[in-house]
Assembly symmetry: C2
Amino acid sequence: MKNIRLTIEYDGTRYLGWQRLGDSDKTIQGKIENILTQMARTKVEIIGSGRTDAGTHARGQVANFKTDSTVSLPEMIDFLNRYLPQDIVVQKIEEVPERFHARYNAVGKKYSYYIWNDKVPSAFERNYSYHYAQDLDIELMNQACLKLIGTHDYIGFSALKKTKKSTTRTIEEISIKKEGKRLHFTFVGNGFLHKMVRILVGTLLEIGAGELSLETIDEVFESKIRSEAGVTVPAQGLFLDEVYYKEDQRELSVA
Amino acid sequence: MKNIRLTIEYDGTRYLGWQRLGDSDKTIQGKIENILTQMARTKVEIIGSGRTDAGTHARGQVANFKTDSTVSLPEMIDFLNRYLPQDIVVQKIEEVPERFHARYNAVGKKYSYYIWNDKVPSAFERNYSYHYAQDLDIELMNQACLKLIGTHDYIGFSALKKTKKSTTRTIEEISIKKEGKRLHFTFVGNGFLHKMVRILVGTLLEIGAGELSLETIDEVFESKIRSEAGVTVPAQGLFLDEVYYKEDQRELSVA
């Protein structure tokens, strides 16, 4: 049984998200599984590093699947990219050790979120960023970023209900880069709770617009009450850029 | 009668091009005219600087129209952007002297064309660039750019049939910038013939891939035979960036 790892880029605009729902053709996972099943002539199930919401994009989603297929790796990637719709592209294919698991072995993730910060929206950014017309105090937002990083219980900044599982995460980087009229937010951490990136961006925007104070961050860490944080910004500004795995697992991979 | 000038950005993916066809709702001109007609409660016709093909985009298309409407300019741009689909955005609205004509007064245009030059296509570039997998000799293509600029009869690099009108144009700039896996072609000139930019890009690509020689350019200028030049690359990589008008006409404009 071979274990195959895929690195996948997708424009999530037309999809209900990563995760297969029944036999829906409107999910990324479903699309890829259908084609692999056709190729292998037996049902193939793939394991993603994690879900992405409807409308959210990925530049480096990672998934793996096991197969007995004798199709070579170059043939496999060609087959996938020939039959996948143009808004889903497999960028890389590798054979990995049998124990590699795209979800369990992930040790971190990197996300981007884009804001189009101008009076008028952009015809090209409508599916790839969130239009926000108000002036923003970027200096203050940078201070807020520093307060948000570290090791914390982020449940107040998530859409999760109280759970027995740990909701403590370590976020190494939250940064904002101004690229013309576009603000590029970067998030790097060992894991993110459901809708956490979008709620963190919403909170940062409200702080930048003067609607929430810098102290709100400490208060939400303390109270763990979701409604005290900022709004959830829309899914279309969010990109899963990269999934990180332990270096040793990469070294063991067979190219 | 007021003369109003619009600067328009659009994602051409869903449209049959700029020019209104009958009462079709699938053209940019048609969409804008329908909304202005609703606003002014009388039929409005707009004059564009020129057509763009189906699938081609614009960052700075210019159009003008005459109206007796008493609606103010800020209200007008708000009305347009509220009722236009999200892939058409009016970026700027100005009142201009009565003699201003978006087509007749245009003295030059700037276009961009994008190539995604990688083995694998990109999920995000599919509607905004042309995927070209072959290796390219950019150095040689730059030499070809220098041969293509100047004042020439470009009919051999156009989709035009023999015509009585002059097909001589002055092209000041053709340049290629490598932006990661993307090649960004820029064209600036006093006018471009039908499909000329796309045929120039096709010719440059074939020279860069070693399928046409540098001398082809002189030969096509000499023979004026379309079939000796390169292919017409697809419309989706093309952007109308800017339309130039004489400085004095801009100075006379009422803001």
